[in-house]
Amino acid sequence: MTDEEHMAEVVPLARPRAERAAAADGGAPSAPMLDIRSLTAGYGGGAVLHGIDLTLPRGGVLAVVGPNGAGKTTLLHAVAGLVTPSGGSIRIAGTDVTGKPPHIVARVGTAIVPQGRRVFASLTVEQHLRLAERAGTKRRAWTPAARAAARARVAGPVWTRADVVRLLPRLGERHSHRGGELSGGEQQMLALARALLLSPALLLLDEPTEGLAPAIAHEIHGLLRTLAAQGLTVLIATPQAALVDGIADDAVYLTSGRAATATGPGTDAGFASALTGARDRADRHA
């Protein structure tokens, strides 16, 4: 039994992409899920991203491919609000979130699985899940910005703790272990679960299989494929295109903070060659 079959059997969430897209339609049906215009961002005054343009339609899965230091993490962090852009704009389902703090961006409907997992070392798995579920469902909006974010919220598929444990049974087994005590693969699953419990419309994944044993990486890979198949909008950063085979349907090649787009033709082979072309263009550009 392949991973996909296993997941499809256990998780009754898969819906046709079109249906998902229709369901996700909130206030601005025409707006893409993620729309980035001439984004520049960096740290301490030094720019890492130089004018990125990027569009991600609802239900789309876009890979951001590039070597270390290309600015993939900065791009994802900028979308999540963890880095303040110095120029350009970011819109999520039509809502301008440029420069908004991360908790506001999260409330609009974004979740991030960060590089290095960053699970909470002193919280148990169970507490992670409880905290994330609570954060995903019960949000009190104290400030005008938070109220606006709540109004602009893009609905994603609703995940419960039971759902994620069904999807990731390992977490159920380890529910009383602390984040710091888990293996890398388990931490990755936990970080994914933590993000899913926010029931996001847009999921940001930063090198989700980095540093994992091949078997575990394969398992994670299968999970992501399932999620993608279910119609979740995903922006995934990866150093190699091969790692997102069968998951992403579009890719952006990022080098030195500049982007070149390749439109995926659907098949894996064509996808890879398209990426190569994109890289060539980007290199010439740089």
Partner: protein, 308 residues
């Protein structure tokens, strides 16, 4: 048996003292853990609670409860004020925060003494708790015994809140990684403010309940602050369980310690703290000393042997 008999009361008293200090220090360690705020005005909040107890309390249970409510509310308010005051300097490191909170402590201390007066105050205690009870043939203040119970209850409640409840999970998560908490859609600043408010309420409440044990006077704030700081640092910053052990240890050092080693009494508190930090810091200073001493001893023996 005689020895045990002679040291029973100091040992018990160490627990009472430790529990009081724990309730105070728990707030400080909470604020430090979640927000990274080394709040040097924490002792001032205790003093405020103690003054409120002296002012409102008249020896009746009703007024004690009222004082507790007022003290906790005042403490919570000051926690909120502190959160607002610290927010602009939150990114600037601990020393700037120390400067700020120390300034607040000085201003607050001056206001407290101006309002409540500099005189020592009588703190009225409900009649039933006023006297002493006999424990194994010794007299022990009833209030302190009751306080041990209440503080244990508070400690249990605090442990549950912080370690078992979701709100506590949010606080600890903020300690671990505030950015990821924000990415969950929770404002770290809200968590942070809520923590400071709870920490303030805890200190204010501890002031009300602790007033008969550590009475309000112009120096109360400093004393309590210093002790809490020792407890928080020795008990590993941000760790509630660590703070509990450290608090009991500080309590015992001040009671059992001064009886067992009267000649060292003035040095005990800071000496013990220094040693605890050295042992705990894991810097390997003590083992290294031991190793060096061994080397020296071997050399000395060798020299002696050579001379003979």
């Amino acid at each position: 048996m005689d020895w045990l008999d002679a040291h029973l009361i100091p040992a018990l008293d160490g627990v009472a003292y430790g529990m009081l200090l724990f309730v105070v220090a728990a707030g400080l360690t909470l604020a430090f853990g979640s927000g990274g705020v080394l709040n040097l005005a924490h002792g001032t909040v205790y003093a405020m609670g103690a003054y409120i107890a002296a002012d409102i309390g008249d020896g009746s249970w009703g007024m004690l409860v009222l004082a507790l409510a007022v003290g906790a509310a005042a403490g919570a308010t000051s926690g909120g004020v502190l959160a607002v005051a610290v927010a602009p300097v939150a990114r600037r490191g601990h020393l700037d925060q120390a400067l700020l909170t120390f300034g607040i402590a000085l201003v607050g201390g001056d206001m407290l003494v101006s309002y409540f007066g500099a005189d020592q105050r009588q703190v009225a205690v409900p009649k039933a708790l006023e006297d002493s009870v006999t424990i194994a043939g010794h007299q022990y203040p009833t209030y302190r015994l009751a306080f041990i119970g209440v503080a244990a209850l508070l400690a249990g409640l605090g442990y549950w809140l912080l370690v078992r409840s979701t709100a506590g999970a949010a606080v600890r998560a903020t300690t671990d990684d505030p950015e990821m908490v924000a990415a969950l859609g929770l404002s770290p600043r809200v968590v942070h403010t809520a923590t400071l408010v709870v920490a303030g309420a805890l200190a204010g409440g501890a002031g009300v309940l602790g007033a008969p044990i550590i009475t309000p006077s112009p120096e109360t704030a400093d004393t309590v602050m210093l002790w809490s700081l020792i407890i928080v640092v020795v008990g590993r910053l941000g760790s509630v369980l660590g703070a509990l052990f450290a608090a009991i240890a500080v309590g015992e050092v001040q009671t059992l310690g001064v009886v067992l080693a009267p000649d060292l009494a003035p040095y005990l508190l800071f000496g013990a703290m220094g040693i605890a930090l050295l042992v705990r810091s894991g810097s390997g200073i003590l083992p290294e000393f031991a190793a060096r001493a061994r080397v020296l001893a071997t050399r000395a023996r060798a020299l002696k042997g050579g001379g003979a």
